[in-house]
């Protein structure tokens, strides 16, 4: 796809509908049942450099559904270069999937040659912001494809931060041409754990840069609410989603994230139907 075309395809105003995370366990459901999923998101690292069944699943979906790639290895909040083999494998996957856009988390997932395989909170300071902007610009140049950053959950506020997350994200978006993948569940979880007011946080972000919304489930474990992606979206998050769409005043690509404790395909599809119901209520005719 030419760059200009990619830009059009990934423009937040081009609405793809409601998608779901691709799980190989659901392959039969996808192809053999009638369902309501409009597009799919792949966890990049689960498919990068893979052949066999994972690769074949993509080949089967390609052309039938729009695909996007969502990873956790770029480690946007650490100032180091991304490993070259990672970059090559991701670029190959983006080409193979003809990804409309790709995304990663605004977090630290590796640094100093160590891989954490987890989403650690970034440092919110001027120095860190400047380095993150620099890294995102490099990523945009290297991959030459629309890119989005996702807000994460975190479980404690470091006293070393010197700015609010909303300011960090807003300035980052202003300084780069990247988009925002807004995870509404993460915003809700942060309110529960840290007391950050979800609606206040959401209104401070530029809604015109939101290319995609994530909806997911979470779990209460002892003193924390953990972002597990292992259950249905809760009522409070559905309410927040509806409230946000109303505020944004436009339909936004929405994705149901369900990565662990996988449900039957019909249960996942029912979540997609519910999201479509919210969109349809606010923007009649949008799903047709």
């Amino acid at each position: 796809m030419e760059n200009a075309e990619r830009e059009v395809a990934a423009d937040p105003r081009s609405f793809l509908g409601v998608g779901a995370g691709l799980r190989l366990e659901h392959e039969r459901g996808i192809f053999e049942t009638s369902h309501h999923i409009d597009w799919f998101e792949l966890i990049s690292e689960n498919f990068m450099d893979y052949g066999g069944k994972p690769r074949r699943a993509i080949a089967n979906l390609k052309g039938k559904y729009p695909l996007v790639c969502h990873g956790l290895g770029l480690s946007l909040g650490s100032c180091e270069d991304v490993p070259p083999d990672y970059c090559e494998a991701l670029r190959e996957l983006l080409d193979f999937t003809e990804a409309r856009w790709f995304s990663d988390h605004l977090c630290i997932s590796s640094s100093l040659k160590h891989h954490y395989h987890d989403l650690l909170p970034i440092l919110k300071t001027e120095d860190s912001l400047e380095k993150t902007i620099h890294k995102i610009r490099w990523i945009q140049r290297f991959f030459d494809r629309p890119f989005a950053i996702e807000n994460i959950t975190y479980y404690g506020e470091s006293r070393h931060h010197t700015m609010e997350e909303s300011e960090f994200i807003t300035r980052l978006l202003a300084e780069t041409s990247c988009y925002l993948l807004l995870d509404i569940n993460n915003v809700y979880v942060n309110e529960k754990n840290l007391g950050h007011k979800a609606k206040a946080f959401l209104t401070r972000l530029p809604s015109d840069r939101v290319i995609q919304i994530h909806l997911a489930g979470h779990e209460q474990r002892q003193d924390f609410v953990i972002d597990t992606h292992g259950s249905a979206v809760c009522e409070e998050v559905w309410e927040l989603y509806e409230w946000y769409l109303k505020e944004a005043g436009r339909p936004i690509n929405t994705l149901i994230e369900w990565d662990n404790n996988l449900p039957p395909f019909e249960t996942l599809d029912a979540q997609v139907v519910r999201a479509k119901g919210v969109l349809e209520k606010l923007f009649p005719g949008v799903s047709s």
């Binding site: 690292e45 990068m48 450099d49 893979y50 052949g51 066999g52 069944k53 994972p54 690769r55 074949r56 290895g73 650490s78 100032c79 490993p83 990672y86 630290i108 590796s110 640094s111 100093l112 160590h114 891989h115 954490y116 395989h117 987890d118 650690l120 440092l123 300071t125 120095d127 860190s128 380095k131 479980y155 404690g156 470091s158 006293r159 070393h160 931060h161 003193d223 924390f224």
Partner: protein, 253 residues
């Protein structure tokens, strides 16, 4: 705080198990430590499912020990499980037959996920002047085992389907090749005899320009030496079997 100090703080906390000035409460620090360790436990449990079925695995303890000896070195999470059979063997955590089972399970995972040889697969049966006749399927592993793991699993699954694996394998030195059938994505097991190993070795050196059945036969025979000789028809028969087992692809010159 400078970003580089913040980053080394995380390394200290998560890798070196030390306290670090990240400006977080001890409870939060411990939560993150737990997350990183849990990824190890999850990935080991996912790759070594059969081991877990026939032997009660104290995953928390093993994952912690394994994390200390083989800290996460790769971006690909599943690859971190690679050294686990060595870890089991070195620390004598299970008997030899179960170490073999772990090697087998890692082999299966590698073959399942391997990028493979998409070009050779796409071009199988086709060819042209100067094309190599035999191309090794890269989606394979060769294992030298002390126990008959493949036979044990095969018989168990034939009798019991996918019920949790029970019993133990019988001692039997063997060379097992696990290769992926590109058509189905499934793993195919081949117990190798001396001829297979020689053929495999000849293929592993890479296809040479203009290689054909005759030159290939000669290459295999050279590896085998004078003691074991194969006629042309025996050679063809063996080759047809290994091709069926997805160990290599053939092009027609």
């Amino acid at each position: 705080m400078e970003l580089k100090n913040y980053l080394s703080g995380w390394k200290k906390l998560l890798y070196e198990g030390q306290e670090a000035d990240l400006g977080l409460s001890p409870k939060v620090s411990e939560l993150y430590r737990g997350f990183v360790r849990d990824h190890y436990r999850e990935i080991l449990g996912k790759v070594y499912t059969r081991l877990d079925e026939c032997h009660p695995c104290p995953w928390d303890e093993w994952a912690q020990g394994y994390f200390r000896e083989y800290p996460p070195y790769a971006w690909e999470l599943n690859h971190l499980a690679r050294h686990f059979p060595d870890y089991l063997e070195k620390n004598r955590l299970v008997s030899e037959d179960l170490v073999d089972l772990a090697r087998y399970e890692w082999g299966e995972y590698v073959v399942y996920s391997h990028r493979g040889s998409p070009k050779a697969w796409a071009e199988r049966g086709r060819g042209g002047q100067g094309d190599p006749l035999y191309i090794l399927n890269e989606a394979h592993v060769l294992l030298e085992l002390r126990f008959d793991i493949a036979g044990w699993i095969f018989h168990w699954e034939r009798e019991n389907g996918f019920a949790p694996l029970r019993g133990r394998p019988s001692p039997k030195s063997n060379i097992l090749v696990i290769a992926r059938d590109e058509k189905t994505g499934n793993c195919v097991m081949t117990l190798c005899d001396i001829f297979h190993v020689a053929l495999y070795e000849a293929l592993s050196t890479g296809p040479s320009e203009g290689q054909n059945e005759r030159t290939f036969h000669l290459a295999v025979q050279k590896i085998l030496g004078e003691r074991v000789r194969f006629t042309k028809s025996e050679f063809r028969e063996k080759i047809a079997f290994l091709e069926k087992q997805s160990i290599f692809y053939r092009r027609t010159p």
